[in-house]
Amino acid sequence: MPRIDSTNGPVWKRRTTKQQWAIWAGWLVALAITAFAWQRISEKTIWFFVQDAPRQAADIGSRMIPPKFSYMSKLWAPIWDTLNIATLGTVIALVIAVPVAFAAARNTTPHPIVRTIAIFIIVASRSVNSLIWALMLVFIFGPGVLAGTIAIGLRSIGFCAKLLYEGIEEIDHTQVEAIEATGASGPQKMVFGIVPQVLPTFAGIGVFRWDINIRESTILGLVGAGGIGLELNGSINTLAWTQVSMILLVILLTVVVSEWVSAKVRGAII
């Protein structure tokens, strides 16, 4: 903590003058960037629509109440589809993520080049949103659950593999050494030394991602990839607002329940 001598005796400051200036400069730059970004966005905005928004919101809001509860009978099948997309997509992702994670972890990778490729797979899968994956897969497989499932799977590989390889890098090496001292071969070391240590992490990641996937799979229908999003899109396009509010209510409930289940299971594992 710097001390500055003044006529009234020493004064203590939290930062040196230089640090203080650096922080102010940082704030100034941040403010300038924000102002510039805001200006670029606002020049592309039609402000009349923004002014009109509260009225629109009130209008749509009033049309959404009360939710059309009788519509529920048509929603069970899409919800089941949504659950399947999320669950099977997570399973696909986990199956592919395991080899990728072992290739990406520094302590198990066979070669640095393999590691680079694995990291690229992880980043590519994470950067492209599941909706974009679905958009492309609908072109290939046609509209339906299959495209959605594969989209969720491809999107989740990166997430699962990233967390898993970080888990593998953090294992306790003495256990692997102990297995090695018994004369175990490479694969045996893997199975008896590393896998038991990362298995809880693996299960935790799976459940965590499943919970996220439930949320993501509710929107895949917007591009035709099945699930409850299909109903949502249809209802919005036909301006059936009471159905929209019912669907939103169902999504809310599904997400809350899946979050609760995932928290319980993770609590039990860890």
Partner: protein
């Protein structure tokens, strides 16, 4: 009985992951039943999927080589719009998150404030950015402003929740020490709580910037502006080589952001 006469098991098996055999088997059987049901009821047109494979090959082939040159101007417009959108929505989202996060911390707020703020967070977390964007487009019209609103609301659910959790996990003794000096509420927040949560929050804000940029690529599909709108147009015009170029640029920017955020987090902590 001497040691030699005692029988020892000569083989060893790994202990199972789930110790309780009843639970273990019911999970295995339950999973099997679920998978059978799921595959049984999944309405997949396998013929259509099989037909799609050669089409998929052509589709993938159409991505190569990525075409960076033909629509360069439009692409850069979209990317910059996404970047501005990501920046401004991260900042607005964080500005809104701070009061909500403070209110959602159990150790700071009275019960009713806590419940109110937790339900705001819960509501914003439930709905994916795309659904928020659909409604924002309905209300504010097409363009980046709608995307900005959707991403800002999405940021609240993420940032306020983590901020509240971080505040709940802070060391109470420091807060008490500041309180003992006779600090007012704002001083207490500023000197006892802010320094404890700041390093992690700076890291998280960069991380959220990264998420918002990625999400800005999808809010465009429903009309929220940014690179997503450009990408969607490219798909609709079957200009797959341009779409490939856009995807590669998105991946590149996300990679840069990820490295920056990792570096920044290390530097701050």
């Amino acid at each position: 009985m001497s040691v030699a006469e005692q029988t020892f098991p000569s083989s060893w098996r790994r202990p199972p992951f789930i110790k309780n055999p009843l639970l273990r088997w019911s999970i295995i059987i339950g999973a099997a039943i679920y998978l059978a049901l799921a595959f049984g009821t999944m309405d997949v047109n396998w013929q259509r999927a099989a037909e799609g494979l050669p089409r998929g090959q052509r589709f993938v082939a159409a991505f190569f080589p990525p075409n960076f040159s033909d629509n360069l101007g439009v692409m850069w417009d979209g990317i910059f719009e996404s970047i501005w959108m990501a920046i401004i929505s991260t900042i607005a989202g964080i500005a809104l998150s701070i009061p909500i996060g403070l209110g959602a911390a159990r150790n700071l707020a009275p019960k009713w404030v806590y419940l109110l703020n937790r339900s705001i967070i819960g509501g914003s977390r439930t709905f994916p950015e795309v659904i928020l964007a659909i409604f924002a487009v309905k209300l504010f019209g097409f363009g980046p402003f709608a995307g900005f609103i959707a991403l800002s609301i999405g940021t609240i659910g993420f940032y306020a929740k983590l901020l509240a959790e971080d505040i709940e996990n802070m060391s109470a003794s420091q807060a008490e020490a500041i309180k003992a000096t006779g600090a007012g509420w704002f001083q207490w927040i500023n000197y006892a709580i802010q320094p404890q949560v700041m390093p992690r929050m700076i890291g998280l804000s960069v991380y959220r910037l990264d998420i918002n940029f990625r999400e800005s690529a999808v809010v465009g599909i429903v009309g929220g502006g940014g690179i997503g709108a450009t990408l969607n147009t490219a798909f609709e015009r079957y200009e797959f080589d341009t779409a490939a170029a856009i995807l590669l640029i998105i991946i590149g920017i996300v990679m840069v952001l990820e490295y920056t955020s990792g570096f920044l987090r290390k530097y701050v902590q």
